[in-house]
């Protein structure tokens, strides 16, 4: 259930940004979450709703942008799509990929009133 820690981190960051802008309310939080980041979106949404009660983020919607996994094959050095950690290179059939994209865990923007 590390999604609770992630939700609490999100609330901390957006609340301090919103306070600095003297906002009354956070309407929406735009997140970038990589397909390989190890986060269950349903669980994160559930935790966020519970943890944001009585904070500036209470009632805010989460707009989640999934970032697809990409990597470089260790063998043929081509860029390939990676949808899990056990990807076989479609070009050379080799195992072993350097992940270059898909582990993102980032707050892109917030919408405030």
């Amino acid at each position: 259930m590390h999604e609770m820690s992630i939700a609490l981190n999100i609330i901390d960051i957006v609340s301090s940004q919103a306070r600095a802008e003297q906002a009354q309310k956070i309407n929406q939080i735009e997140l970038e979450i990589g397909e390989l980041a190890g986060i269950m979106i349903d669980s994160l949404e559930f935790c966020f709703e519970a943890a944001s009660k009585n904070t500036l983020a209470d009632g805010a919607s989460l707009s989640i942008i999934r970032i697809p996994g990409k990597g470089i094959c260790h063998h043929c050095h081509n860029e390939i799509d990676v949808d899990n950690f056990i990807t076989v290179c479609p070009n050379c059939g080799g195992f072993g990929v350097e992940i270059t994209q898909g582990k993102e865990l980032k707050i892109r923007s917030i919408n405030i009133d």
Binding site: A7, N9, Q17, G38, F46, E49, N54, I112, D113
Partner: protein, 265 residues
Amino acid sequence: MCDTCGCGQPGDPVTIRKPGQENITHNHDHPHPHSHDHTHESEPSHDHGRTLRVEQDILLKNNLLAERNRGYFEAKKIFALNLVSSPGSGKTTLLERTIATLKQEFPIAVIEGDQQSLRDADRIEKTGVPVVQINTGTGCHLDADMINRAVHELDPKDQSLLFIENVGNLVCPALFELGEAHKIVIISVTEGDDKPQKYPTMFSVADICIINKTDLLPYVDFDLEACKQNASQVNSHLQFFDLSAKTGEGLDQWFEWIRKQVKPS
């Protein structure tokens, strides 16, 4: 904000203690006034309000603290290892054996992580090395802040070996950097050789994979080579140690690796 369950009540559920220190527990009541049958409607449009670019890593705070820990370890030449595994893989037994052999050669200290109890810290204390126990309450992983506080309490010596035994969990600790030199994932032969395929995230972030309880290989359907192949498919850089912390088989190679890391020649 309660960090364990996210309820609105104040309180720090994490306790950090040495063996023999008073038990402090996280036991406030948790009413659940919210309904669990919520639905997530489609995105409302925001034609009102202002949009601010944030562009911040969600785990930035933890990662910065981990870097601070790492800097402290490097300055004091402390070699820190983060041991992660499912519950029951034999982490504590491996530590007991390792400490018994290596404590004559360099100082060793241990941070134990569990949800509850001082049981592991009590076991380590019997080996004669300093130990602190972090109890995470219901938390599923250690984070860099807990390590920072535990190290403050432990005050490990310069040029020592620091073992951090994470909460038994093959999922969550993968995401939280502690400032360690290496993550070491431990599996035991009673768990199944497909574990790397089932929990690839942890195997992808580890540098070392220890396969423990090899004395039980004749009695279980565990294919050692298949397991290593599965793990290497997730992470081709993984280095393996097959051993039995109980019988001592294979421990020499593990000890030799540690010696080289702590006292690089």
